[in-house]
């Protein structure tokens, strides 16, 4: 396992670098804007505090001086008097982003009424994960089966239909297909709701069922657009393996073609399939996030879309960070699986 260990270490270093550079880039790009919004919110809160204290001032000048001093104190205590790129602030901000301690959102609240960025994002995250793990599992199941099926019939009509389908669905924006699906199944035929946010309250016991019903249309769309390219990749690798000598040997040994394709060939094609599929998953990730906005699915993608529309920086930064983490971990997991399967990596 020497080689595999080395592989694990280099990959881990890689994801740390990726996360670190993403964070650095985000803070470098949005640092000054973030500072401005923070100072604005301090201004507002100090003014409110002073007006609630009911101190009587003799002149507006006195009032202004009092408020200015208070604001100054607050800014100092938070550390905003230093620029965002000072090492202390930079490190602080980085830790804050990592723990999603990003203050309050200006325009959004969680269902319990909290406007803390962490609460809002963490409330949405399970929905995103639910939709995408479910669709990924369905896509991989269909993709593996269809891919192996057309591989066993390479050159047939099914094979060509599958290739054409993969090319077509690969160049379609998934969020556009989503809009068409809404038109077809919510407007023309009232089968599914047009907006995927359930109307029942999360505390209601029937909420889960309602949520799953609302999830169906986005799920069907993501699967429909996604499985074509998976099947195409699976076919590509399985066909390659079916031409290998040892498979021919198995054939002559009298093992049924079905067993050869679905068991032996698929198993041997696994490592490259896993990597390519993880990468294609990663590539479709952005589009899938956007499809949340189309379907109004109450996940992070929808939150992202709304936050961009409202220029709500704390939310944008928080969601960017979490999306990056999810993405990087997916790629990392695929790498590990690949390394585990591939003997060349083990040898080092």
């Amino acid at each position: 396992m020497q080689g595999f260990q080395r592989f694990l270490i280099t990959r881990s270093i890689n994801i740390v670098i990726v996360l670190f550079s993403t964070l650095t880039l985000t803070i470098a790009l949005l640092g000054s804007t973030m500072d401005k919004t923070l100072i604005d919110s301090i201004n507002a809160s100090v003014k409110e505090e002073v007006s609630q204290q009911k101190i009587t001032f003799h002149s507006t000048d006195e009032y202004r001086k009092y408020v200015d001093v208070k604001i100054e104190q607050q800014i100092k205590s938070v550390g905003l008097d230093e620029p965002w790129y000072s090492p202390k602030r930079f490190g602080n901000t980085m830790i804050k982003v990592m723990t999603l301690d990003l203050g309050k959102s200006n325009s959004f609240t969680s269902s319990s009424g909290s406007s803390s960025v962490r609460d809002i994002i963490l409330e949405r995250m399970p929905n995103t994960i639910l939709l995408f793990t479910t669709s990924t599992i369905i896509i991989s199941a269909i993709g593996l089966y269809v891919g192996a099926f057309v591989a066993s019939k390479a050159g047939s009509v099914w094979d060509r239909i599958n290739s054409a389908f993969a090319v077509f669905s690969g160049s379609f924006p998934i969020w556009w297909i989503g809009m068409l699906m809404i038109f077809a199944f919510a407007f023309a035929y009232h089968i599914f709701p047009a907006r995927s946010t359930p109307l029942t309250q999360p505390s209601d016991p029937s909420y889960i069922i309602d949520l799953l019903y609302h999830m169906l249309l986005p799920l069907i769309t993501i699967v429909l657009v996604g499985f074509g390219s998976w099947a195409y990749f699976v076919r590509f690798f399985v066909v390659g393996i079916l031409n290998e000598d040892y498979i021919q040997a198995k054939r002559t040994a009298g093992i049924s073609e079905k067993k050869i394709v679905y068991s032996h060939a698929l198993k041997n094609a696994a490592p490259p399939i896993v990597t390519v599929i993880a990468l294609s998953l990663a590539a479709s990730f952005g589009g899938a996030i956007l499809s949340e906005a189309v379907f109004d699915w109450p996940g992070m993608g929808k939150l992202y879309y709304d936050a961009i529309g409202a220029f709500d920086y704390p939310i944008i930064i928080g969601v960017t960070y979490l999306l990056t983490v999810i993405f990087v971990l997916t790629v990392f997991a695929a790498d590990i699986v690949y390394g585990y399967f591939d003997p060349r990596v083990k040898v080092g």
């Binding site: 790009l29 879309y305 529309g309």
Partner: protein, 461 residues
Amino acid sequence: MISRRQIVEEFRRSRAGMAGAGILAVLIAMSLYAAIAIPLESFRQWNNPNYWVDYPRSAAPSWTNVGILGPKAPQHIILSYPNDASVSRSSLNGINLVTHTYTVDFDYDSYPSDFMLPYDVKYGSTPPILQVDVSRPDGKTFRIYYFSLPPSQSTGGNEASARVFSSDPKVSENLRNYYGDFKYQQDASRPEIMIFSDLQHSAVLKGKYMFKETFYLFGNSDAVEKSGVVLGGKVYGLMGTDESRRDLAIGLLWGAPVALFIGLTVSIASVLIGLVYGVIAGYKGKRTDEGLMRINDVFYSLPTLPLLVIMSVAIGRSIFLITGFLVIFGWVGMAKISRSLALQIKNLQYVEAAKLMGQSDIRIIFKHIIPQLLPLTFASIAISVPAAILGEAGLSFVGLGDPSIPTWGQILHDANSAGAAASGVWWWVAPPGFMIAITGLAFVLIGNALDSIVNPRSKKI
């Protein structure tokens, strides 16, 4: 290696490749048509609602109005001076009379939803008088407006520039004089219905209507700058209009050159960068290779969309900046491919020979290795166009596209914000996405065809 002629010949034989080339030709034709025939103003003013006031709101494409499937809905009609008006001049007691006549062939099964008569007159001291007569197919003529034009608020005292609306009380007042002509109860407060009604029974009177707009000008230098007739309808143009009254045909046409520009610029730039980067890594080997490929790995695992969002939020949203952002993420794949090919080529005898002759590394890379990879480069450029187009479309879709120009992604963003799909405005949703898909498809087909010709590895399977 195969010659250029061989590549062209083999490409001609590839049906998918030729289909892709055909689509690309159509897109280029669309771009040229947009550049030559469509006023550039419509491109610049795409997001300015004032530019589109004469257009209908959410009107379906006019070809949906075939008349077989049901009643023929009224077409939205925009007529304006000087293109559609026949002009006559006369003079009466020193007053100049200018008459603009517009002919409307109205053979639809329902009434227009409203009408407007825009005008713009420059005058010296006395405001001009506008008189509007509508002569109907049955020979009747209704005088619907006779009034001195109010001076325009915005441009000062010497210009009358506004529009007469069908809801104007003066129009209803004039129409009351014609109640006697109708055999049944008419309603002058709905001029768009009364003017287009049959005298005998309550139905649309089909045929040719003439809108005669006569301007009484009291000064010698007075001039009519603008006039027109806008009849509100349910269908308009080749592709319909959106909720902000924009003509979608124009938006879709302008989207073509923009998409081609983004797609080609991004893919050419990123493939060339990736090519040089990968070849240097592969040729130099050792530490250089290791370092360069580590950087490549980092870029490979960056999530594109979230970072694109951050960059456009923080830096800017102009089309050139977006192109640059997309290049940052675009070069990675090509670098990996060209590195592995450079590893093979650098061990070939002629490269070794060049090295022994003492040629510099740069010279070997650009003279001996990269030319070998050029056919593959072309294939890669074509293959990476769709990702660039989808990237820009996705960015536009979240609302971070260049606000000064129309793109297909932005049209879809507006459609999504207005809930177009759920309210059945399919002509706002289907065509832009179809254009994105078909443009991507064209380049995928071309790229795959080229790739299977120049890349021996993909040929086998």
